[in-house]
Amino acid sequence: MPAYDRRAFIKALSAAPAASILSISNAHAAKVKARVVVVGGGYGGATAAKYLRLLDPGIEVTLIERETVYTSCPLSNEVVSGERAIETLQVGYKGIQKHGVRVVHDEVTAIDPAKKSVTTAGGQNFVYDALILSPGVEFNYGAVQGLSKELAESRLPHAWKAGPQTLLLKRQLEAMPDGGRFIIAVPKGPFRCPPGPYERAAQVAHYCKQHGKNKAKILILDANDSFSKKPLFEQAWKALYGYGPDGMIEWVSGANDGKVERVDPDSLTCHTGFGEHNGDVVNIIPPHSAGKVARDLGLATFKNAWCEVKPESMEATGQKDIYVIGDSCVGGDLATNNAFPKSAHMAMSQAKMAAAALVAKINGLPLPVPVYTNTCYSVVAPDWGFSVVHLYRVENGQWVYIKSGSGISPVTLGTPPKPVPRIYRRLEAQYAEGWLRNVLADAFG
């Protein structure tokens, strides 16, 4: 069988050597067309590294990732509720290596864009012709008074990067008494996984219901005034768990003093502008920004937090031959308030575009016609899921949000509006699992 895409994509070739358009000739002679270093082996980085090799095996690809095992954030809220074992979310890097990607487990500490080199904590040095950054997010603990990295790892887990903190949060939930209060503090957007905090609220409520903690309260203290898939979440919360001041789940908007500014870790008190809320479990998601390696390069120019990139290629606007993908970048139709959501699906879409654009550039060909898509499933109970889809194209060098190819699962059906039959929610809860297995395979397999 012909190798993926290559057949359609790459054709019988003359001897066009290589990195003709790239500004530096780090690639050594004939054999290797160009050297690409990818920093960060999450959904974005793993996908970029793999697709570079699939699209053009003449490119040498090195992926530098701190950890040897990746834990998927998507569906990790089900680990908190006990619906899923964390192992089902974990994957290593053997699959990527099979595509000829050189995987280095180390931490990138410095990047020199003039010398085009990357230095690691382990003292290794890598020279690149092009660099792809997908370092995820960096948490700004200082934004919430009283919070620190140490507290997040010991008593106040954010669990906004799946791993040990996810398991800690799960244990705290298990230890919470009936009548206990679980606080989720949501930072001002944009943040990683826009529907994530609200899915978490539902999973925590599901746990409480399953374990007879019917008097539990899940309080969402939000710095924002609305949220992703709001009508779908509110409908499900109401039907499944009770929603509002008398229900199990309650949401306090930013306008209603929902923004948490300070926390007292000993009394587990969250202080908002005017009020205070005591919790038995306090899950503060700190504000975050582009990963440190990208910030250190001065690329986080958007609101001093996120990296701006070119719509046709994902190349950083501020730095030639450096591409920023995944949660670290900002993109989408900002003028109409339709920014790219920070999701794994989106990170992979960006990764594939960056890889295709880079391969075109290396081979001296015109850039491919860009298209970016997202789908994000939320699972609020084992048999209740829904989704949002997004489509973006690029017109006149700008991202355009395509409304006809975007939207949430139906809240009602038909005119006059009727309730959506349960089968729709059941199907999307099942599809979420199929999505997870496929994205893990597509990125890491």
Binding site: M1, Y4, D5, R6, A8, F9, I10, K11, A12, L13, S14, A15, A30, K31, K33, Y51, D56, P57, G58, G100, H345, S349, K352, A356, V359, A360, N363, L365, P366, P368, V369, V371, Y372, T373, T375, S387, V389, L391, I402, S404, G405, S409, P421, I423, Y424, R426, L427, E428, Q430, Y431, E433, G434, W435, R437, N438, V439, L440, A441, D442, G445
Partner: protein, 189 residues
């Protein structure tokens, strides 16, 4: 690993004659859910690589024009032009159908086979690899996906257009659905 490297050059927009459609780029967005080459790695998502062009294009247009219900796909395809849908259908029909044989018990296989003899093989073939012109291959198709499709046919509230499929599937007894999809899902020929 590098063989052929020196003998290739990129050829953009291959597989389509429309200048502004890059079907490779579009198709790559499908891999997130349907797998590389349309071979699904998740039991609830269908493989689509190697299904007939006409079938793929028909299904997607039915979703686009609200002639067929779906949980997710109908929203995804609405952003694509008919030409893009045709290009995607052509692209995936040119991949190879790779049945993913999923394990099941001998008891299920036996029961499944007898139900299929009676109800399905006329249109899908005994092994699911020899379908009528308007039906897709289902040998080695994701079992949980097939079970969910049959649930759609059985649920009054879900609008599936094919009348004969609907009639056949509604005739099945509750316990017959799982063995049937397990049987087809276990095939690899």
């Amino acid at each position: 690993m590098r063989k052929g490297v020196m003998a290739v050059v990129l050829f953009w927009a291959a597989g389509t004659t429309m200048a502004d459609i890059n079907v490779d780029t579009l198709a790559r967005t499908c891999n997130n859910c349907h797998g590389l080459n349309g071979v699904s790695a998740g039991a609830t998502m269908p493989s689509i690589g190697g299904l007939p062009k006409g079938y793929l294009s028909k299904i997607m247009k039915e979703w686009k024009y609200d002639k067929r219900a779906a949980a997710t796909m109908n929203r995804i395809v609405k952003g694509f032009s008919d030409d893009e849908i045709d290009a995607l259908a052509a692209y995936f029909s040119k991949r190879r159908w790779l049945p993913v044989a999923q394990k099941t018990s001998a008891v299920q296989l036996k029961l499944g086979k007898s139900v299929i003899r009676e109800n399905c093989e006329d249109c899908h073939g005994t092994y699911g690899n020899d379908p009528d012109i308007d039906a897709p291959r289902i040998d080695g198709q994701s079992t949980e996906y097939m079970a969910l499709e049959l649930e759609k046919y059985r649920d009054e509230a879900f609008d599936m257009p094919h009348r004969k499929m609907k009639k056949t599937i509604r005739r099945l007894k509750d316990g017959e659905v799982t063995p049937v999809v397990d049987y087809y899902g276990a095939q690899k020929r």
